[in-house]
Symmetry: C2
Subunit: 251 residues, 2 copies
């Protein structure tokens, strides 16, 4: 009967109680505007030691009893930012016992939830999107906004860490699925936009001439007849990503 008493046995040896945690989901929505990687954040207002403070957090919230994790991530992102039909990929659970230790976060949360807050384990999701006009306009009705990666200040909870890990995850994910990089680009893009995106994702500069050779070898990056218009510098050619060719070449 040893196995039957597995949990109880552990309890006797271990004085600390079993964790009865809240579970939340947090969404790291990463976009590219042609120049910078940006993250979709939510404005937070709280009060600490009699002072009102303003800072930011990831779109995230606790899950309900009747929803699965993936459903919860979709619901929360929609409720807090208005975004719908966004692909969300679970990438990591964050469950440090200290992640809800900052009094500022605790008080804000307990006030928002109107109850005592215990430890929260959060399941983090990632989405890569194109930042186009429609996406910006829709945010006006929410306390949400796009913030450039290097402009992000101290966020609530461990959200800075979650974003850092999301970027590492993107790097590995793009390695396996190069097509996911094109989720970040507009339908037609210039070679330099694609190069800048590679530089941002890999966090290091790429030689321009070598990169043009690299593009020439990517059969699924198709040059268009169309060029940039109304630019001060020499108008650059546009390219598009061809999913059909990609699927043929990669399999």
């Amino acid at each position: 009967m040893q196995r039957l008493n597995e949990y109880t046995m552990q309890n006797k040896e271990h004085i600390t109680p079993l964790a009865n945690n809240h579970i939340s989901v947090d969404c790291v929505v990463v976009g590219f505007d042609g120049e910078q990687l940006k993250v979709l954040l939510i404005k937070r207002m709280g009060e600490e030691e009699g002072e009102v403070f303003h800072d930011m957090k990831l779109p995230g919230s606790l899950i309900y009893m009747d929803e699965n994790l993936d459903e919860a991530a979709k619901r929360v992102l929609h409720e807090l930012t208005g975004l719908k039909n966004v692909n969300l990929t679970q990438f990591k659970a964050f469950g440090s016992k200290d992640r809800t230790k900052n009094p500022k976060d605790i008080h804000w949360l307990e006030r928002a939830m109107q109850s005592k807050v215990e430890r929260i384990v959060t399941i983090a999701y990632l989405s890569l999107v194109k930042i186009d006009r429609a996406l910006i306009r829709d945010l006006d009705n929410y306390q949400a906004c796009w913030v450039a990666l290097h402009d992000i200040k101290d966020l609530a909870f461990d959200h800075n860490l979650i974003i850092k890990e999301a970027i590492l995850f993107i790097r590995q994910f793009v390695e396996i699925n190069p097509s996911s990089l094109f989720d970040l680009l507009p339908r037609k893009f210039t070679a330099s936009q694609l190069r800048i995106l590679y530089e941002l994702v890999y966090g290091k500069p790429i030689d321009v001439r070598n990169f043009h050779k690299k593009i020439a070898m990517m059969e699924y990056v198709v040059p268009l007849e169309e060029k940039e218009q109304g630019v001060a510098h020499r108008a650059a050619r546009y390219y598009r990503f061809d999913k059909k060719i990609y699927n043929k070449v990669r399999r």
Copy 2:
């Protein structure tokens, strides 16, 4: 003040209560014995409708309030299998609302925990190990054993699904970190052992002749002077994995 009332607002719209879940960790320890991929499982005994049943589960358990997720995974694996100093990588959270719906699992768990069980979200970890004699001998003191991947029957909870996703994760992980494949092999291995391992991980046969060419191109797979001994067929040459060369070649 909109953000402050984020949670409360959601509560009013949503009738179902916020989830106050238990969190568990489950460890998928995958090993290779030269012929097959095996998973380390724990024997479970329970009683359902007056009948005693025997089945198996992954080594896993609830976490304590004072431990981080990674710490919990290490502790649980050690308590249930005796394994120590094993690299565990978090690979996915499983939080379907139905994952603790089977009465057999619920009753077993409630009896083991001596309390009512609510929903449990589990954080799954993966480890790749060599199955050597020391590893098998140590298991004798536990209700643990190695089961070949294709011999695994219906497991407790959603543990079949967790193992399936672990194998998919290994496939992607090996793509980015080919060196991790050698964690599964003995220090010296034959070309056919390496080929079988590739076949098992990718789930498809590999042409023998092409594979020998492939090995010749992997500078970090170094042929030894030593050959197999006491085998009925033609003795095969041994190879070893050279981490130094690997690090030089891959960077």
